[in-house]
Each structure stands twice: as structure tokens, then as C-alpha cells.
Amino acid sequence: MNTLKLIKYQLRDVLRSKWVFLYFLFFLVATDALFRFGGDGERVILSMMNIILLIIPLVSIMLGTMYLYNAREYIELMLSQPVKRSQLFIALFAALVLPMSTAVLLGVGLPFVWQGAIFTHAGSVLFLIFMGISLTVIFSSIAFFIALMTEDRIRGLGLSIVLWLFFAVVYDGLILLFIYFYSHYPLQQPVLILSMLNPLDLGRIALLIRFDASALMGFTGAVFQNFFGSTRGLLIVFAVMLTWMATPLLLGFRRFVMRDF
């Protein structure tokens, strides 16, 4: 009961500042514009995939970090009340992730509904939105972890940008380096495992295999397709995603419980 009440207060606070609406509007306008510029459902999904992979992790990790820093006084106040720390932590996280996920769901989903493409591409759109929400949760929980580990606001924000850059760009560079370094060895398995360790790569590949038929190219493409296309592969993807959601969150939670505010 307490938790729900806390979520309610916190949600009201989040919705009062307008950035969630802006975030929602961004997806709404982007998706709708893609439809209006002559794309059919399939092309819109492919373009939205790029946007989602780029924007969601960046926004989630930045906003998440800032959100927790801004909630500092509120947290201190609440902790002087008869409220369990775990309840407060859950409320804080839920109040961040729920509106952001809803923004993704509606922002991407609604244009598909009123453009009528939802009926022909239901599975694909849902999968896309599901991936978007998963990435939101993952990068929000990483943000919580960062904000709880570093006292300094600037350092925390800097760290979140660096981490995003690492996942989005540097990591792939390292993979490429690895591929060139060990090009004489059979690399399909190691590269598959390496790319699964990065949630952004994982999301990208899972979406790619589904939407971009040309990713099937050649023998290597077929190997990846076989893995990610199978039920076993999909289950592993979900498991890794869940691990990525849970680990930073649990670490953050431990810190939150122990920490002297």
C-alpha cells in the first residue's frame, strides 16, 4: 500500500515536469512523419529501429541519472518518515520507468494504429516496442546504479554519457578489432557471445534478424539467423536482457539500502 502511494506521489512529480511528454511527442512525430514521407509499415519499422536503438538508451541513461540526483532531497525527506527503503527504491524506479515505457509504447504504437499498419505488422511492431521498453528498463537501471555510486552530480552525468558511448560505439569498435586480430580463427561463436554481452548490440541484432532480411547475407548471416531465429536463441536473448535489467538494479539497491543519505 505504502509503495503504491509513493509511486503515485512520485509519478505526479515526474508528470509535472514536461520532459516525459516531450519524449512521447518525439516518438509520435517521428513515427508519424516516417509514415507521411511515403514509408509503408515495414520501412517505418526499420527506420524506427535505428531511432529506438540510438535515442532510448541515451535518453534513459541521462534522464535516469538526473532524475535520481534531483530526487535527493525528496529521498532524504521520505527516509525520515516511517517508510521502508526498499519501498522507496521501488517507487522511485517505477515512477521513472513506467512513464518512459508508456511514452515509447504510445509514441511508436499510436501512429501504427491510426495509419492502419498495426493489423498487418502486429507482431513486428510489438517486438519493436518490447525491445524499446527493455532498453528503457536496462539503461534506467544502469542510470540508478551510476547515480547511487557517485556523489558528484557532474561526475555521474559524465559517467553516464561515457557509458552510453561505450555501449553504442566503442564496444563495436572493440569487437571489430577483435575480429581483425583473430581473423584466422573460427569466430562465429566468440563474436556471438561477445555481442550478447552488450545490451545495445543484443537489441540491435535481435531486431535486425527480424526486420532486415538482408542481414541474412552469406554463410555467417545464416549462422546468426539460425541462432537468433530459434526459440532457444530467443530465450537466451531474453535471459541476457533480464540479467542486464536486474544486475545494475540489485547493485544499486544494495547501495541504496546501505548508504548514509
Binding site: D172, I179, L208, S214, A215, F219
Partner: protein, 422 residues
């Protein structure tokens, strides 16, 4: 009163009349011989007994007997559509060894499958001027097999089987050492190669549909001066492969949906001085693959949504690409070397990012169709896993600004602003 002279006159007239009647009868009987012979069972003896030029009409029924040989020239074999020649899954069905033979409107099914003999539903061996028209071929090893058979027609046949392995499936239409053959309006499905030509000069292949074959939709070697137009090759295991041939024209064909580790819209190997124009290459792993092919004129083709639009090896030279449209291919052009002796000019590239200030429809900035990433994938196929990664995009942009690794000479300096095919 009758005089002897008048009597003679009547006699003569009567004689003439009789002669005329006899002649007429003879003519009638002759035409009767050239007319249709209806056949119910023993087909082989009917064929053996038929004089040259006869038409044999097969009544409905299943004709399952030893392999049938036609050795008499000018024979026409035709019949009701439900006249079925059955090979009993153990032998060839019909072998033609005489000129001017026509096979029409018949159904052939169940040849034997052999690793030593090329059993075919219809085989023409060392004969000229044959015509194979409107037949239905089902579940055969080879469909129509022409060896040293010149100047014939293969038209409007439907050739289907449900092959599972390349080893126990033959080709739909197979030509060996046969010149001046026209292959038109046929439908071929499920064979090893849909249409196979080896040493078939001056072949003319048009309006055929060849799909869901295990290996190639069309496969030819050493078949110079042939024309391929308005055919459709789709869903074939490995697409279309053509080799060691000169002076070929391929136009208005459609190559689509050939996906797989080694599937090509069309694979050119050692094809020289030929023209490939107005074709559509869509949804293939590789649209056009060129190895060791020289002086091929490739114009007005559409390359759309292929993994690789064109894969051009550096041992291909003097090929000219003009007025083609490259639309939404993962890689428009890929190659394996910085050195190049091929020309790209006035093509349309959907990835072109330049501008046209003077409004003459030609982009002011040259287009480099080879992405750095395509080079990377060429060297290390595993890096395919980085497809659509932000890192790769940044790498590509950097390379486009200052080309250091992609071929300098492979540039379209007059890229079109509008798609010429729209």
C-alpha cells in the same frame, strides 16, 4: 442412230471418267494415310508401322511400356491431355532419333532415377527440326533432354518435379551440343537446374518461368550468341549461374528471391562482350556477381533490396554500368581490390547524398558506391554482426569524406538525381 465414232467417244469419256475416279480414290487413300492414326495401346509398334509424316493420336489412358523410340522422320505424337506416358520409375520414356518430329499435348510422368543414365521424359538425340509443345511433365528425372539436336522448338511445356536432393534430381530442360533451339513460355519447377545449356550456340530463351529449383534457375556454359529475355528466375537454391560464354544478350528478365549462403541473382563467370539490360534484380543475397567477366555492358537494370547489389571482382575489367538503379541494397557495390578497370556512370543510387545545384538532373558530387564496411565484411564475414551499428556508420562517413581504403577509381562521377526507371 449410233455411229461407231460416237460409240468411241462415249467409251473414251467413260475411260476418262474412270481414270478420274481412280485418281480421286488414290488421292483420297493417300491423304488418309497422312491423316491421324488413333492409338490405344502398343505405341511402339504403332510408331514403327506409321509411314513418315503420320500423326499419331493417343487416346486417353496410361501408356506404361518399354522406352519408346521414334526413328521415323516427320512423325507427330499428340493425343488427349489424359494420355499419360508413364516410365514406371525405372526408365526413360521417349527418345526421338529422327528429324521433323513433333510431340504435343501429352503427359509424361515417372522416369527412372539413375546415377549412370540421364533418363529423360523426352529426349531428342541427334535430330533436327523437332517441336515439343504444350506437354505436361511430372516427376521426371530429366524433363526435356536435347543432345546434338538442332533447330528445334521447346514451347509452353509445364515441367515439374519435387526434388529433394541434387544427386537424384535432373535438369528441367537440358541442352548439350544443340544449336538454334528456341525455348519459350515453359514453366519449370523443382528440378536440379531449371534450364541447363552446354555448348548450345544461338539459343533463344524467352518468357519462361523457372522457380524453386534445387540449384540454378538457369545455368549455361559455352553457349555463345544466345539471347535470354523476359524470363523469370525466382526462389532457386542458388539463383542463376552463367559461365564461359561470349556475346550473350540478357534483357527484361526478373531475378528475385534467391536467398542463401551461396545464392545469386546472377553469377557471371568468364562472360565476355555481352549485354545485360533492363533486368530486375530484387531480394537476392547477391544481385549480380561478376568474376573474370570482361566487356559486359550492364545498363538500365534495377537492383533493389539485395544484400549486395553488385559484387564485382577486380579480375573483371572493361565492364560498363550505366543508368542502373540501385535502391535500398545493404551494399550497393562490393569489391575486393583498390585497383579497378570498370566504369560506373550515370546510375541512380538511393544512398546518394549529394546535391544538384544547376538542376540538370546530374549530381554535382561524385558518388562512391563502395562502403568501407562492405570491404570489412568482404575480408571478415563475421563482422556482419555489426551491421547497422553506430560505430560502422561513423566509420563509413569518415571513409566517405577522406577515402583511404575504398577503391579510388570506382566512382560514379555523374550520378542521377532521379530514378530513370520510375
Amino acid at each position: 442412230m449410233r455411229t461407231p465414232s460416237t460409240l468411241n467417244k462415249t467409251k473414251r469419256m467413260f475411260r476418262i471418267l474412270l481414270l478420274g475416279l481412280l485418281l480421286l480414290l488414290g488421292l483420297f487413300s493417300f491423304s488418309f494415310a497422312a491423316d491421324t492414326l488413333h492409338v490405344r495401346d502398343s505405341l511402339q509398334s504403332a510408331i514403327n508401322n506409321a509411314p513418315p509424316g503420320s500423326i499419331l493420336y493417343l487416346e486417353s489412358g496410361i501408356y506404361e511400356q518399354e522406352t519408346i523410340y521414334v526413328r521415323t522422320p516427320g512423325i507427330t505424337l499428340t493425343g488427349r491431355k489424359d494420355a499419360v506416358l508413364d516410365g514406371g520409375s525405372e526408365r526413360a520414356i521417349l527418345i526421338i532419333k529422327a528429324d521433323n518430329v513433333t510431340v504435343k499435348n501429352l503427359t509424361f510422368r515417372n522416369t527412372g532415377i539413375s546415377f549412370r543414365h540421364d533418363f529423360a521424359a523426352i529426349e531428342v538425340r541427334n535430330a533436327k527440326h523437332f517441336e515439343i509443345r504444350k506437354n505436361t511433365l511430372e516427376k521426371n528425372f530429366f524433363g526435356i533432354y536435347l543432345s546434338e539436336a538442332d533447330s528445334g522448338l521447346v514451347v509452353e511445356n509445364s515441367i515439374k518435379t519435387t526434388g529433394t536432393r541434387e544427386a537424384n534430381t535432373g535438369n528441367g530442360i537440358h541442352l548439350w551440343n544443340s544449336n538454334y533451339v528456341n525455348i519459350e513460355d515453359n514453366y519449370i519447377r523443382g528440378h536440379r537446374d531449371g534450364i541447363y545449356l552446354e555448348f548450345a550456340v544461338h539459343a533463344h530463351i524467352s518468357n519462361n518461368i523457372s522457380e524453386h529449383n534445387l540449384r540454378y534457375g538457369l545455368h549455361y556454359m559455352f553457349s555463345d550468341k544466345s539471347v535470354y529475355k523476359e524470363n523469370i528466375f525466382r526462389y532457386n537454391g542458388a539463383g542463376v549461374a552463367v559461365m564461359y560464354t561470349q556475346n550473350v544478350t540478357m534483357r527484361d528478365n526478373i531475378f528475385e528471391n534467391n536467398w542463401g549462403p551461396a545464392a545469386y541473382g546472377i553469377l557471371l563467370k568468364d562472360i565476355d562482350n555481352s549485354v545485360i539490360s533492363n533486368n530486375i534484380f530484387r531480394n537476392n543475397t547477391i544481385g549480380l556477381y561478376s568474376e573474370g567477366s570482361n566487356g559486359v555492358d550492364i545498363h538500365n537494370n534495377l537492383f533493389q533490396q539485395n544484400g549486395w547489389g553488385v559484387k564485382l571482382f577486380a579480375n573483371s575489367t572493361r565492364n560498363v554500368f550505366t543508368k542502373n538503379s540501385f535502391i535500398e541494397n545493404t551494399f550497393d557495390v562490393a569489391t575486393n581490390s583498390r585497383q579497378h578497370n570498370n566504369t560506373f556512370k550515370s546510375n541512380y543510387w538511393s544512398k546518394y547524398t549529394g546535391y544538384d545545384l544547376d538542376g540538370d538532373g546530374i549530381g554535382d558530387v561524385p558518388h562512391r558506391p563502395v562502403r568501407l564496411y562492405s570491404l570489412v565484411v568482404q575480408q571478415n564475414p563475421v563482422s556482419l554482426i555489426l551491421h547497422r551499428s553506430l560505430f560502422i556508420d561513423i566509420l563509413d562517413i569518415a571513409e566517405r569524406v577522406i577515402p583511404a581504403l575504398t577503391p579510388e577509381t570506382l566512382v560514379d562521377s555523374t550520378p542521377l538525381i532521379k530514378d530513370p526507371l520510375k
